[in-house]
């Protein structure tokens, strides 16, 4: 495998136009594992990790714009991210181990498109989009539409993910993120769940819920969200409202957990999330 180091994004796009099936290497925490296990065998890889123009966190006109090469640890520690999207900072802090978070990038997490990807549910509830650039031009795709299956995205040969962006959270919005794994570090999620809600005097005006590891791609709990609207976070009936939330998901049984357990945990994590929102609105 030949690893080539382009000097700037323009050069990457030109090279990808000539050789659209070459791989792109960022932090390598996923790609190099697959390469070592012979799951992928790209003849050529462009390593982009050194390109500072793809490593930024910017607040622009009410949006947070993040370069694909920002590492999970930098996002977890970023004051701007903690202020405008604390649930994303939380999600990034739960990825792998410190060694993995120090290398693995947010762009890599999205392009890898694992059903268990830790940042994906967080970015979906934040209404994130990705910017895809090629030698021909660029397009913006909502993250919901970007990932189409396990390891599958709409990224076309020759395209490079060059930014992730989403609206900064409003002062009336609160969020939550929780990952359930077999241990805290280095565990692949059994279930992960993100939610973002607009509250008015502890009443849910609007809510968006997304879960990972319970379907081929991220699953949004739209019916449950609709049922929750108008409910007060202080009421005791919330338990019943979220009890069957897992019915909206389609998990599999694998060596980490059974289908039934995953379904049940969706409701549990959601309930925990609603309790967290209640505390946040009170505080």
């Amino acid at each position: 495998m030949d690893v080539i180091t382009p000097q700037n994004v323009k050069e990457v796009l030109e090279e990808l136009a000539k050789d659209p099936y070459a791989g792109v290497l960022a932090g390598g925490t996923d790609l190099l594992v697959k390469w070592k296990s012979n799951i992928i065998t790209p003849p050529r890889l462009f390593t982009i990790l050194g390109l500072q123009e793809l490593n930024f966190i910017r607040e622009e006109e009410g949006y947070l714009k993040i370069g694909p090469l920002v590492t999970h640890q930098d996002l977890a520690e970023s004051a701007i991210v903690q202020r405008h999207a604390p649930l994303l900072a939380k999600a990034c802090g739960q990825v792998g181990s410190l060694q993995i978070r120090n290398r693995g990038t947010i762009g890599g997490n999205l392009v890898t498109a694992s059903p268990a990807g830790d940042t994906i549910p967080a970015l979906v509830v934040l209404n994130a989009s990705v910017v895809l650039q090629s030698a021909q031009g660029e397009r913006q795709v909502p993250l919901r539409d970007f990932i189409t299956g396990p390891g599958k995205t709409v990224l076309q040969p020759g395209e490079l993910l060059t930014a992730v962006l989403f609206p900064c959270m409003e002062v009336t919005e609160v969020g939550f993120y929780r990952k359930l794994g077999q241990r805290q570090a280095m565990a692949i999620s059994i279930v992960n769940l993100a939610l973002k809600a607009t509250l008015e005097n502890a009443v849910i005006k609007d809510i968006c819920i997304a879960c990972g590891s319970v379907g081929p791609t991220v699953v949004e709990l739209k019916k449950t969200a609709n049922r929750l609207k108008g409910h007060c976070l202080d009421t005791s009936e919330l338990r019943d409202v979220v009890a069957n939330a897992g019915d909206e998901t389609s998990p599999i049984s694998d060596l980490r957990a059974s289908q039934e357990y995953r379904r049940k945990m969706v409701g549990e994590l959601l309930y925990e999330g609603l309790q967290s929102l209640r505390r946040q609105s009170a505080g």
Binding site: T5, V33, L98, Q99, M186
Partner: protein, 158 residues
């Protein structure tokens, strides 16, 4: 084959290796620095932890061509002239070593933590080594040694 130049344990170092050679292979096979261990080879165990630009990283998941101009520290860079550094001393005095295979990685994760925080909390110490597996299960002593090293470094004002 290409030549890649980086700073290794404070010295400017050039190696000529194929572009897909991992840092771990470069350290152990090209440079003969066998203190950095290979465990799983997939970033799960942390035995190959080194410090790249001030941050802990798995040497098995970095290709050498990504390291042009980088500042790399390995276990061989701890201590000097046969004198152990404060973390190594604390590991010895605390009995934080059993079979020893995870020790270089543990020390580098701990060093990366102490580079950033001179008074880490118990939680921060545990998190700093959460990516390092010790199959002798000696984590309590390791965490204690890191805490002691932090205390002794603060007392000596370093």
């Amino acid at each position: 084959m290409a030549v890649y130049t980086f700073t290794l344990n404070g010295k400017l170092t050039s190696v000529e290796v194929p572009s897909d050679t991992t840092l771990l292979e470069t350290l152990r096979e090209t440079l003969g620095l066998t203190g950095t261990k290979e465990g799983c080879g997939k970033g799960e165990c942390g035995a190959c932890t080194v410090i790249v630009n001030g941050k802990a990283a798995n040497a098995c998941l970095i290709v050498t061509s990504q390291l042009v101009g980088a500042d790399i520290r390995t276990i061989e860079g701890l201590g000097s002239d046969g004198i152990l550094d404060s973390l190594q001393t604390a590991f010895v005095e605390t009995g934080a070593v059993q079979c020893g295979y995870c020790t270089p990685g543990m020390l580098m994760s701990a060093r990366a933590l102490l580079l950033k925080k001179n008074n880490p909390s118990t939680e921060e110490i545990r998190e700093s080594i959460a990516g390092n597996l010790c199959r002798c299960t000696g984590y309590a002593k390791i965490a204690e040694a890191i805490r002691k090293a932090a205390v002794s470094a603060r007392e000596r004002g370093v």
